[in-house]
Amino acid sequence: MNINATLLGQAITFAILIWFTMKFVWPPLTAAMDERAKKIADGLAAGERAKHDLELAAKRSAEVIREAKEKAAEIIASGDKRAAEIIEAAKSQAKVEADRMIAGAQAEIEQEVFRAKEQLRGQVSAIALAGAAKILGREVDARAHNDLLDKLVAEI
C-alpha cells in the first residue's frame, strides 16, 4: 500500500470537480427542476380551478335551461290563450257576419218574392184579360174595365 503524491493530485482533481459541480452543474439543474415543479403545481391548481369553474358553469346552465323551459311554457300557455281568444273573436264575428248575410239574403228573398208577386199579378191580369177577351169573343177595353181588373189583381 504505497501512499504517495498521487493522493495530492487526486485531491486537487476532486476539489476541481466539486467546484465545477457547485458552479455549473447543480444550480441550473435544480433551478430547472424547481421551476418545473412549480409549473406542475400551477398546472394542477389551474386544473382544479377549471374543474370548479366547470361545475359552476354546469349548475348555471342547468338553471338557465330550467328558466328557459319555464318561459317557454309560459309563452305556450299565453299563446294558447291568445289563440283561443282569436278563435272566439273570429267565431263571434263570423256569427255576426253570417247573421247579417242571412238577414240580407232574407230581405233580398222577400224583395224577390214581392217582385215576383208583382210581376205575377201583372201577368195574371194580362192572362185574365186575354182569357176574358177570348170568352167574350171581343176586345175587352182595358180602360173600361180597369177598375174591375185592379180588383181582380188585388184579389190574387
Binding site: 503524491a5 498521487t6 493522493l7 485531491a11 470537480l17 439543474l29
Partner: protein, 253 residues
C-alpha cells in the same frame, strides 16, 4: 496471460503505472483514468445542465436529473441546515466514485493488453482500487468536516464540543480520547471501505481471468452482475457518510 505464472499475472495486474520515486511518485493510471472519467461524466452533466429546461426534459437531462434528485433527496433527509456545498459535493462524490468503480466491469485484460501494444507495461484501470484515490477523497471530506465545524460553531464552541461531548465536562480526558478515535476512524473507514470493496472485487475478476477462457463466463457473469450492485452501493455509501459527517459538523451536540 501467455508466458506468465498465475502469481505473475496477478501481481502484474495489481501494479500501478507510476512515475517518480518515493513519496513524489505518481500513479499515472489512477490519475489519468479518474481525470478522463471526470471529464466525461462531469462534461455530460454540464451539457445537461447548460441546456436544462423546465419544460419536458430530453434523455440526457432526464437521466442527470434522476441522479440529482436522488442525491438531493438523500441530502435533504439527512442534512437540515443551509449549505450551497453539501449537495453538489454529494453529487460529485457519487458520480465520480460510481464512474471509477464502474471501470471494474471492463474486462480485466482489455486495457492492459491494448496499452501493452503501445509499450505501457502496467495499468490498473480502477482508480478506486488505489488507496491514494480513496484517501484523497476521504481526507478532503475530513478537511471539510473540520472546516465546517469551526465555521459553524466557532473555535470556542468546537473546543467545548471536543471537551464536553459525549460525557460532560468532568470526563474531558475520556471525551478527548473518544474524539480522537472518532476523527481518526472517519477518514480511514471511509477510504478503506471503498478501497477494500473495490480491491476485493477486482481481485476476484483477476482470479476469474485465470480460468480457461471457455469457463470464465460461469463465474465472471454472476460476479459482474453482483458487482454492479457493489459499485453503486459503495458510491452511495461514501456519499451518504460524507453527508452524515458534514451534517454532524453543522449540528451541535
Amino acid at each position: 496471460m501467455s508466458g506468465q505464472t498465475s502469481s505473475e499475472y496477478i501481481s502484474h495486474h495489481l501494479t500501478n503505472l507510476h512515475a517518480g520515486e518515493g513519496f513524489w511518485s505518481f500513479h499515472l493510471d489512477t490519475m489519468s483514468v479518474s481525470l478522463v472519467l471526470g471529464f466525461i461524466l462531469f462534461g455530460a452533466m454540464w451539457l445537461a445542465a447548460r441546456k436544462a429546461t423546465s419544460g419536458v426534459p430530453g434523455g440526457l437531462q432526464n437521466f442527470v436529473e434522476m441522479v440529482v434528485e436522488m442525491v438531493d433527496t438523500q441530502v435533504k433527509d439527512t442534512f437540515h441546515g443551509q449549505s450551497k456545498l453539501i449537495a453538489p459535493l454529494a453529487l460529485t462524490i457519487f458520480v465520480w466514485i460510481f464512474g471509477m468503480n464502474a471501470m471494474d466491469v471492463l474486462p480485466v485484460d482489455l486495457l492492459p493488453l491494448v496499452l501493452h501494444w503501445f509499450g505501457v507495461d502496467h495499468f490498473k484501470i480502477v482508480p478506486s482500487t488505489d488507496l491514494n484515490a480513496t484517501f484523497a477523497m476521504s481526507l478532503s471530506v475530513f478537511f471539510l468536516i473540520y472546516f465546517y465545524s469551526l465555521k459553524v460553531k466557532g473555535l470556542g464552541g468546537f473546543t467545548h464540543e471536543i471537551l464536553c461531548a459525549p460525557f460532560g465536562k468532568w470526563m474531558f480526558p475520556v471525551n478527548i480520547l473518544f474524539r480522537i478515535v472518532e476523527d481518526i476512524a472517519k477518514p480511514i473507514s471511509l477510504a478503506l471501505r471503498l478501497f477494500g470493496n473495490m480491491y476485493a472485487g477486482e481481485m476476484v475478476f483477476i482470479l476469474i481471468g485465470l480460468l480457461p477462457w471457455y469457463l470464465q463466463w460461469t463465474l465472471g457473469a454472476p460476479w459482474a452482475i453482483f458487482h454492479l450492485l457493489i459499485i453503486t452501493l459503495q458510491a452511495f455509501v461514501f456519499m451518504m457518510l460524507t453527508v452524515v459527517y458534514l451534517s454532524m459538523a453543522h449540528e451541535s451536540h
